[in-house]
């Protein structure tokens, strides 16, 4: 084990993947010598050469189109989109192409070798275009997998699983935690199964569910709730597509209450899908309506970020509301 921040953990997962397959390529804006604007790919060009770790021209559409082609050829394509906010120029390549390659060709061709890494989320004073959480747009697309780690250990194991997975995967990296979150991470290879949520803490009164950077927030809220005598079960969804309804159903059946939290706007956020499913599956076990603590239905602001963001206080209030219903 070594102490690593999330960037080191991601770098380590990429390094292992590059060593594993002689044709694996890392590419994206500034990822070459510079190591990416957040330095997640530092040192990899020196190690694996300019043919396999390279800067692309500034074209997300080009990056993903190229990645689809490279993956269709059979080489692991490890594409980086500099900020999740800039994934939209590549939307067509991802939603119409990556996601449908296998289906439309009867599996004559597929891009299972594709992994897209992209930093997402707020908390860095980035305003509209450096803070978005676009997971819900992609969660509406069959054929993709979406994964979000909450800490360095999870990041390495999940990223390795994404790269090994035989489907196109988008790996959303919580950029606020890149350097802020440090933890024990094995230097050797390991994977964490995609599609499985993790019960981070057991409890009996209410279930709290989030993913990525929002995990820290629900954990803080749980501390406040415990002080008020409310026992919280905390679950990290980890994988948004496919998502682990089973673990959540089991938990809500036990606690009878659920709070879901994400940074993206509430309307049509992935929390809506979760609430709908749990409402159906756990109807007779629910003690109160499912609460969602999410971003407002506005673009991500700058000066009033604190007001906008689902913070621990807002989650705490939702917990109280649910318990006192």
């Amino acid at each position: 084990m070594a102490k690593m921040n999330m960037l080191h953990a991601i770098n380590s997962a990429l390094d292992i993947s590059m060593a594993e397959h002689p044709q694996a390529c890392i590419f994206g804006e500034d990822v070459g010598y510079f190591g990416g604007v957040f330095r997640a790919t530092s040192g990899l060009q020196e190690k694996y050469g300019k043919h396999r770790v390279f800067n692309t021209p500034l074209t997300e559409q080009g990056i993903l189109g190229f990645a689809n082609g490279l993956a269709a050829f059979g080489a692991p394509a490890l594409a980086e989109i500099q900020f999740a906010d800039y994934i939209f120029p590549a939307f067509d390549q991802i939603v119409n192409e990556s996601a449908k390659f296998r289906y439309r060709s009867g599996n004559e061709f597929n891009v299972g070798n594709l992994t897209i890494r992209t930093p997402y989320g707020g908390g860095i004073a980035g305003g509209l275009y450096h803070s978005q959480s676009p997971e819900a747009y992609f969660a509406h697309t069959p054929g993709l997998k979406l994964v979000v780690p909450r800490n360095p250990y999870q990041a390495k194991g999940l990223l390795r699983a994404c790269i090994k997975d035989d489907n196109p995967v988008i790996f959303f990296e919580p950029k606020r935690l890149y350097r802020a979150s440090v933890g024990e991470v094995p230097e050797e290879d390991y994977t964490i199964e995609i599609g499985k949520a993790e019960v981070v803490k057991e409890g009996s009164d209410i279930t709290l569910l989030a993913w990525g950077a929002q995990m820290e927030i629900i954990e803080q809220a749980a501390v406040k709730a415990e002080e008020a005598g409310i026992s919280c079960e905390i679950i990290d969804l980890r994988s948004i597509l496919p998502w682990d309804a089973e673990t959540l159903i089991k938990s809500v059946t036990k606690t009878g209450r659920l709070v879901v939290s994400h940074e993206a706007p509430i309307t049509n956020g992935f929390g809506a899908e979760i609430a709908a499913t749990i409402q159906k599956e756990c109807f007779l076990h629910l003690e109160s309506p499912i609460e969602r603590v999410c971003g407002l239905d506005t673009p991500y602001p700058l000066a009033l970020e604190k007001e906008y963001v689902p913070d621990a206080l807002k989650v705490f209030e939702a917990i109280k509301k649910s318990v006192e219903f």
Partner: protein, 405 residues
Amino acid sequence: MTNPNNISLNISHALEFIDGHALNIPTLKILSEQGDILDGATKSELDKETALKIYSTMRFIRLLDERMQAAQRQGRISFYMQCLGEEAAITASAAALKQDDMIMAQYREQAALHYRGFTLEQFMNQLFSNEKDLGKGRQMPVHYGSNELHYLTISSPLGTQIPQATGYAYGQKLKHIDKESGELNSEIDNVTICYFGEGAASEGDFHAGLNMAAVHKAPVIFFARNNGYAISTPADEQFKGDGIAARGVGYGIKTIRVDGADTLAVYEATKKAREIAVTTGEPVLIESIAYRLGAHSTSDDPSGYRTKDEEAEFKNNCPVARFKAWLLKQNWLDEKEDEAIKDKIREEILAALKVAEKVQKPALEELVSDVYDTPIPALQKQYEELKEHIKQYPDAYPITAGRIK
């Protein structure tokens, strides 16, 4: 013979491929590094008043950039981007336009905005995202915009302004199309200038925007700022062939390449480009060759990807110094007076910074205004709930709590 392919057929029997660099487009240069008009150079029409306004704009932006770069390091603002090295290209091109021509910029073009009359206070209010910011504190520093000054508010996603400029310019032209003949019946009164970096020119939006402008004839001036780098990526990892200018030619657009550190060359080229656009209604492309003297932004450290020697070489080719040398030789500028004015601007900047820093942040209602023309019901409800929450925990939301009605 009919020509459905829309190309000029020039039959050859030799199996020859044209090299990507074959065009080799020349670079217009009028002023020498020492500030002398070069032999045989196009005569410049730049008058004294405009010349001094250009110079004072460049000087102001240098000082503002210097001060705000430092302010970012002191943690007083979160982010900053300098125009360093491109002051001549931006200011002289803006000066060659009419005040009410539209400007669609990328982000590094504060000099064009100041030339138009954006005040020191307006710059500061945006940089501090306070309640006086025209953008209501929603975007990161340097995302300026002003409807009054015909300067579209900056959007971070690169290249998006390029096809928009085509559409806007097409609108400007429509006013002058004769209903009967469908031809331009007069000179167009306004054009759009669209600035973008050589990096942004790789985006799909660039290709879409240029192609649309060429085919549908929009009076837009595409101003490509080729400054050598897109963050850490050098231009030779960005494109092949003869620069962005070659693409203009490829799309059938009248194109010129200029020395972007040469105020006179940029001014003359843009003046001529405007003339072409207003008389023919067609697009023009200008590629400015300059060097991004500073870091990409305050989040960047260029020492990792370019050498000290390279930077030093370009420091000696300072666009502001070159223009100043010419002004001095013209006897339009006096060294002593220049120094005095600089000191005065420095003081003004510092004072304005201190004022803007203390102006309060936008009120809570600005969080939900402008998402739609009026907030939709769901958002209205979210806002009411948020207000209640903040009233309950005022200490946790110090920026807005005290002002909630």
